[in-house]
């Protein structure tokens, strides 16, 4: 016998939440969808275009190039920041005033707003008054981020690494602190090497924080805008013009709302897809492989 009382009026309690999500996410997203499938001239004149904008943007060589650059950038910064962040976390002191001091020093770059980071590096890399620009030239290297694409790329990557490696380091530091001493003691008794301790104790315990770190860093770097915009303006040429800057130029500069909306949706789907693939892959690694032989 099931004498549970059914009363579905409680569903009304989620109404405020629903309204909030509608205003913050669903309605803006639907507006973008709306623009992506129509050609809108003014409030009363519009034509349904179907998939035309999508086809157009996907075939646009400038956008394709920006997308490739974007992937190259995101993968490069991840490949540098993750191992570097883990190494920094491993080297950070655990006790005493040194721990607090290092923690504050490491956190500092995270507290600086994006466009300020861009400005700092813009000045830092100037050949006349910037320490790095001037220093490299004095050392005999013809460093110039407004002329050399390689210099511009290197500098943007260095800037992103400086700005965001601390996030990975902090996440890993907290993950490492959460490992009970008994694990290290057991490893010593089992005569594990330093590498084995890292590989079988520290790294597995860091998996969860690293998933968060990598996802955050991927999303962040894939949407990077203010820093390269301030530092290089996307140049030289279009060598450091990443996706969001291309999109901004298209939407705000050229008022091409239809193609920009179509591209926004593609952009959103790419981020979602990559995150999903990555998350699923990591989570699958932790499952039992029952069918595999020992």
């Amino acid at each position: 016998m099931n004498d549970k009382l059914y009363n579905n009026r409680a569903w009304w309690l989620i109404l405020p939440m629903l309204l909030l999500v509608a205003f913050s996410a669903i309605i803006p997203l639907m507006t973008v969808v709306n623009y992506s499938v129509q050609d809108v001239f003014d409030a009363h004149t519009r034509f349904f275009t179907g998939t035309e904008w999508f086809r157009e943007t996907l075939n646009d060589p400038a956008l394709q190039a920006a997308l490739l650059r974007q992937f190259a950038f995101s993968l490069t910064v991840l490949a540098i920041e993750v191992p570097l962040g883990i190494s920094i976390a491993l080297l950070m002191p655990r006790k005493g005033w040194q721990a607090s001091a290092v923690l504050i020093l490491v956190t500092m770059p995270l507290l600086i707003p994006w466009n300020v980071v861009g400005s700092i590096w813009q000045i830092f890399t100037r050949g006349d008054i910037g320490l790095m620009g001037w220093g490299l030239r004095e050392l005999g290297y013809g460093y110039n981020i407004t002329r050399s694409a390689a210099d511009a790329w290197g500098t943007i990557i260095l800037m992103d690494v400086w700005h965001w490696t601390p996030l990975i380091a902090l996440l890993c530091y907290s993950g490492l602190r959460a490992i009970p001493d008994a694990y290290y003691q057991a490893a010593r008794i089992d005569r594990a090497s330093r590498w084995a301790v890292f590989r079988y104790i520290q790294l597995p315990k860091l998996t969860n924080v690293l998933v968060i770190g990598v996802l955050l860093r991927f999303m962040h770097s894939f949407m990077i805008y203010a820093e390269p915009f301030v530092l290089t303006g996307g140049g030289p040429g279009s060598s450091t013009t990443f996706l969001s800057q291309t999109l901004t130029t298209m939407a705000i500069g050229q008022q091409d709302l239809g193609p920009s909306a179509a591209f926004s949706i593609i952009y959103f789907l790419i981020i979602l897809l990559v995150c999903w693939i990555f998350y699923t892959a990591i989570m699958n690694l932790q499952k039992d492989k029952q069918n595999k032989g020992a």
Partner: protein
């Protein structure tokens, strides 16, 4: 295989210890013989785990020596001592399978794969882990994990002793019993010295042949469970072992009588002599509740006491008594008559212990 000797061992976590209270382990000498099953019993914070970590090499003692088969190992790290330790909370390598976990200590020293396979299967068989070998250690239950961490100690043929630091804390009660039996079986089969730290007297007495009771950084008694029960060496052992603990009466000699507070005790002449000869003002008479004779009616040489409470526990009853101002407990078996409001007590001389400055002095009796 090793005999572990502790010589003049002391440890303090402070860099400059001054008073005895600064020491986690006060100076002690102790020998754990090869192949013995020992328990280290004591309340939380008495130094049990510290002592264990000193033996395994995770801690270096402030002073004194740790000898394995007569060889000084003080400065040797745990990896060089051939010792295994099982911790309170199971430590397994999450991402590895059970098989790889068991193989880990062997692979770390480059054992050939064939030998590793042989040992892992053997140990898995003893621990009943064969069915789980291919599973990831992360997904095991707490008791299986604890078996894996024990197994990592057992796979090594060079291991001279296994130390257990309250290994059954996180195990369900019904499985505790099973694992304890498994431990006994392993001990018989592998002839390894085992030291088992616990604060549970039942666990200690079912596992160990000999128990070392620790109190405030010292081993106050080392003996069989029976010795600890019948002749506690120290008042603490009396309190700690047995349920309820031992009765202690502070005594003194006044006007030729053995008195406790205002109560004049009726005791055998031997007890009288022992009290008279003791050179201290800190004297206590100790008797276990099991050995207090309780009579419902007056008998010769008995002391009259008030019955305050009777707790009937089925096969026996615990009677709370008051002898003058002194609170006492006595255990009365179900076939013995229970006293009602008043009871007459006798302390058999062969069951009495005199404690001078908290340590037991035997009372000679015929």
């Amino acid at each position: 295989m090793a005999e572990i000797t502790l010589k003049g061992l002391a440890h303090s976590y402070l860099p400059q210890p001054t008073s005895p209270g600064d020491y986690a382990i006060r100076e002690m000498d102790h020998v754990w013989q090869q192949g013995g099953a020992y328990a280290l019993l004591g309340p939380s914070g008495c130094g049990k785990s510290t002592l264990l970590n000193i033996i395994s090499g995770l801690l270096e003692p402030s002073s004194g020596e740790v000898l394995f088969d007569g060889e000084r190992v003080n400065s040797l790290p745990p990896e060089a001592r051939n010792i295994a330790q099982v911790f309170q909370f199971p430590v397994v390598y999450d991402t590895m399978t059970v098989y790889d976990n068991l193989a880990f200590p062997l692979r770390n020293v480059g054992t050939p794969a064939g030998r590793v396979h042989e040992r892992v299967l053997e140990v898995a068989d003893v621990l009943e882990l064969t069915a789980q070998l291919k599973r990831k250690a992360k997904n095991l239950t707490a008791d299986e994990k604890q078996k894996v961490s024990m197994g990592r100690g057992l796979v090594r043929d060079d291991v001279s002793a296994i130390l257990f630091d309250e290994p059954l804390t996180v195990i369900d009660p019904q499985l505790k019993w099973k694992l304890r039996r498994k431990l006994k079986e392993i001990h018989r089969r592998f002839n390894i010295t085992m030291v088992y730290v616990t604060h549970d007297q039942l666990e200690a007495s079912t596992f160990a042949d000999k128990i070392a009771v620790m109190y405030e950084g010292q081993v106050v008694q080392f003996g069989t469970p029976r010795e600890l029960f019948e002749a506690p060496n120290h008042t603490f052992v009396g309190y700690f072992i047995g349920s309820p603990g031992m009765n202690f009466l502070e005594v003194a000699l006044r006007d030729g009588r053995v008195v406790s507070g205002a109560v004049s005790l009726s005791v055998a002449p031997a007890v009288h002599r022992a009290v008279a000869e003791a050179r201290s003002t800190n004297l206590k008479l100790g008797i276990r509740p099991e050995f207090v004779e309780v009579h419902p009616a007056p008998v010769e040489d008995a002391m009259e006491a008030r019955v305050e409470d009777v707790q009937d526990l089925g096969t026996y009853a615990i009677v709370q008594l008051r002898l003058g101002e002194i609170a006492l407990k006595a255990r009365v078996e179900e076939d013995e008559p229970l006293p009602e409001e008043r009871a007459w007590l006798r302390f058999p001389v062969e069951r009495l212990g005199l404690y001078v400055d908290e340590f037991r002095v035997e009372i000679p009796h015929e």
